[in-house]
Symmetry: none
Subunit: 146 residues, 2 copies
């Protein structure tokens, strides 16, 4: 069974209409390594039939409404969408490396999943672990300059 058929069935099961936009967007989110912005999704889909900007916003919000995706504002105040896991929970430990030169974001695989110790009464829903610095590509010139 293809991923598309899989998703198609998933949508149909909840009495929703199966449209190309929904299939393509959800498939994309499911295959993504990290949260995708509206712009990321638009770019990723523009090789085939392009999807209208507004439609894309609506599809993304619809997925969130259906519990199939999560919507989070990132540090630059743009929304990022990620596919929900089977149980509907967002993944808890999130480690990123942000290059301050080129702005690229890398996912760190070896997440040191440090359980945060919180004051009494506090509850955590998401942990962001973000390392800033210079990536391998941008770091070389800096080293040479020393």
């Amino acid at each position: 069974m293809t991923a598309s058929q899989d998703i198609s069935r998933l949508l149909r099961e909840r009495g929703a209409r199966v449209t190309p936009a929904r299939l393509r967007v959800l498939a994309l989110l499911r295959g993504a390594e990290r949260g995708l912005s509206h712009h990321d999704v638009e770019k990723a889909l523009d090789d085939g039939t392009p999807v209208d900007r507004v439609t894309l916003y609506r599809v993304l919000d619809w997925l969130v409404e259906q519990g199939l995706a999560h919507k989070v504002a990132d540090e630059n105040r743009v929304f990022r969408f990620s596919a929900a896991t089977a149980d509907g929970e967002p993944h808890l430990a999130h480690a990123h490396f942000v290059c301050d030169d080129c702005g690229k974001v890398f996912c760190l695989q070896d997440t040191p999943r440090t359980p945060p110790r919180l004051p009494a009464g506090f509850a955590s829903t998401q942990v962001e672990f973000e390392v800033h610095g210079h990536c391998a590509a941008c770091n070389v010139p800096a080293e040479a300059a020393r």
Copy 2:
């Protein structure tokens, strides 16, 4: 000594110009229970001499730059500002707790600093550890609702 004189001295100590806008905004942030949006601050200051929209943005960003305030995008993708802890200085290596309900930012003191493992060639300059969730004050109603 008044709070204003206190802040005035604080600014002067770091070689910064003391202006009414800076004094008023920082005093406001320090007295705030939760993170304030640009709009919140503007509204809170409009009884006296109104502060220009743009000036306000610039003052807020300047405070962040100086390490006197924190800036976080809330779940509705608007920035919220809160005063840094008294010493103001070291938010390089410690963790923050961001309450997704009230927007307040807490500094977590007891962070076990796990050195991040980076791919070869990568260099880190700053590590941000941000825990999202509900603070003690906001968590109570949620508990009661169960």
